[in-house]
Symmetry: C2
Subunit: 208 residues, 2 copies
């Protein structure tokens, strides 16, 4: 079967889902297509471009997931609901691929229509919400980068939390009483996320 950019990106996503960001190699992508690594370079400038294309695809998926989520909203939904819907859709789409946040975090710099679509739609809801126009840019930027940052730290947490000895734990509690103490009560990540988005929306609301 003929090799195309599209198929290469498909294979890239598949390998990516299996082995994660660090262990993705051109040879594995080529293997999945029953071809050789060198052949990919006729269709793709290099690994960087492939990663950028993959990031763009994730953005596109997130965009589609977002339109679905928005459509499912009741007509009486506030603009905060709209923002939250887009944010959680983005988060879910990124989390679908292990290490997906890293993919998005590393790729920018290349203009990606997928990322642009996400931004454009978010800008639209903020404008419709009545926020002053010259503030919407920063607001949308902040929210998008917050979501990817959140998932990034979420996915970087090692599967097995590092075993802390009792004495180390005691020392940590002494040096960081607030951090180890009653604060940061190990919330559910989902709860943490929705709260942080609410937080941002509250900030946005003060702009109008």
């Amino acid at each position: 079967m003929k090799l195309t950019r599209e198929r290469i990106v498909d294979a890239g996503m598949a390998v990516f889902a299996e082995v994660g960001y660090h262990n993705l190699s051109m040879r594995q992508v080529a293997d999945r297509l029953d071809t050789h690594a060198g052949s990919l370079y006729y269709h793709v400038r290099g690994k960087d471009e492939l990663l950028a294309l993959m990031a763009d695809r994730v953005c596109r998926q997130a965009y589609d997931a977002g339109t679905e989520a928005l459509a499912a909203l009741p007509p009486a939904a506030t603009w905060q609901d709209h923002v939250a819907a887009q944010a959680t859709a983005l988060r879910r789409s990124i989390k679908q691929h292990p290490g997906g946040a890293r993919l998005l975090a590393e790729s920018p710099g290349t203009l990606s229509t997928g990322a642009f679509s996400l931004m454009e739609r978010l800008l639209g809801t903020l404008v419709d919400a009545g926020l002053p126009h010259d503030q919407c840019g920063v607001a949308a930027d902040t929210l998008l980068s917050h979501v990817t940052g959140f998932v990034l730290q979420e996915q970087n947490q090692p599967t097995a939390p590092p075993a802390v000895t009792a004495e180390l734990h005691a020392e940590l509690c002494e040096r960081f009483p607030l951090l180890m103490g009653p604060l940061a009560p190990r919330l559910d990540q989902d709860e943490k996320f929705t709260r942080s988005v609410r937080l941002l929306c509250a900030g946005f609301a003060t702009l109008s």
Copy 2:
């Protein structure tokens, strides 16, 4: 001269500052210490651990820079000023090293006392500000991840912006009228940053 963890991290930071994240190799770090790559592995479990140690050092520098910035604040400063001082100190410390944001973004998962210090102090100012205790954790988390996310996207912007042809520009303007239009008027990055921090603080303020 004897090889120590400390000296290895020093050399790592030096090489890192010169060649950036992607091109940092154990052999270059070893070269700078007039030794061989294999020797590093007696003191450091691997490249990952070295990167984690370097990230911890950046956090420590950021912490020190933060205490200076806080000390320089007038006594009448609000808690928002305190938060902003810590945020900008962190941003400056990260930006000092090219690709420093990537360093912080990739390393977590390992408990770093440097990062803990930053978090602990920020928690302290939020508690002092009178925010409800069970909200401070999310708030501080959000702000820290926002700063690293901001610098990450800041440092990922390529030195030479990709040349857009006139027709491409026209198409972009049509598909993304808000994004390309009067919104997002290409603010100065510093201005954008301080605004985003203000935004977050405004959100925090609604919690009390």
